[in-house]
């Protein structure tokens, strides 16, 4: 095995190892395509394997482009909060815009789950769960201590058993609204393209 072959095989092994979250067939298809690209480029005697591998970029980064592409593609058509959160988390690693989308997703899903959780708690802790209102306070929450049984407390619970349907509706709306918003934002995801330039200008980093 020549040094060039070893360099190529090492690169492909790193690529294969980094291509997680896809089927074996998809992974091997990608690795073979990159192998054929390297061989094709090696046909030019003026080009070294080092230069070809440098053109492809680090194996980890190349794999990440594939993984991000497939994850965002999957998330655009998914209603699973887990898939959408994973996609926005990956987007968050690419810049401020992605980080903001991830925070929006986290807050939206967090709010939805909190409402549903309150609806679930109400039958078991009816005196501690509610929509509380008092001086300077108005919030849906679970409270330790028996606020409702203390007549001296200025804080009052407003909804009673109506809390359950209200929280179920608000929770569902939060989850559905966040899902739709994140899908909408993911369709506007801009792909990281390391080099895009013109042939009559020096190459530049696009992002």
């Amino acid at each position: 095995m020549t040094t060039s072959d070893k360099q190529m095989n090492d690169y492909l092994a790193r690529l294969r190892a980094a291509l997680t979250g896809m089927t074996l067939a998809e992974r091997e298809d990608i690795v073979e395509e990159i192998r054929m690209h390297i061989r094709e480029r090696c046909g030019d005697p003026r080009t070294s394997v080092e230069a070809i591998l440098a053109g492809l970029g680090p194996a980890d980064e190349l794999a990440q482009q594939y993984r991000t592409g497939l994850l965002v593609q999957k998330a655009q058509h998914s209603i699973s909060p887990l898939v959408l959160l994973r996609a926005t988390l990956r987007w968050a690693t690419t810049g401020v815009e992605g980080f903001l989308v991830f925070v929006i997703a986290l807050c939206g899903y967090g709010m939805g789950v909190s409402f549903l959780f309150l609806a679930l708690l109400k039958p078991f802790f009816p005196r501690n769960t509610g929509l509380w209102a008092g001086p300077g306070e108005f919030s849906f929450s679970f409270r330790m201590g028996a606020t409702m049984t203390n007549p001296a407390s200025p804080v009052r619970e407003l909804l009673g058993w109506w809390l359950i349907p209200v929280c179920l509706v608000l929770g569902s709306l939060s989850l559905a609204g966040t899902t739709k918003l994140i899908q909408f934002l993911l369709r506007r995801f801009r792909w990281k393209v390391p080099f895009v330039t013109t042939t009559n200008a020096p190459a530049m980093m696009a992002m």
Partner: protein, 131 residues
Amino acid sequence: MAQLRFGTPEVETTDKWEAQMRKGCLEMAVLASLWHGRLYGLEILRVLERDSRLVLSEGTIYPILNRLRAEGLVQSQWVEAEAGHPRKYYELTQNGRERATRMAETWTEFSAGLGFLIEPVLKDKETERAL
């Protein structure tokens, strides 16, 4: 010339803006490169460079093609080549042709409208040069 100007804040801003604009057109450019028939990855890079002066890093084109394939805009096929090793060829699907057509129409309308708007800018620039 351009290299001499690299590093100044004004030029960096211009470069970023230009790069953002080119990135926005990338999907359309890749789909358009396949309009006349199937091509493999390296050929697509060469067509983009030759016909549109877009130069991508070699590792960039393959994840893009993979995504377009996942979206059903292109389909791929391994073909035994005379080069002694197989090549993975890409071609547009019906959806891909429709998407490319819509993108080209939108692009043409957009650039025509913008061209009308920036015409005076270019005319003034030419007048300045003449003086």
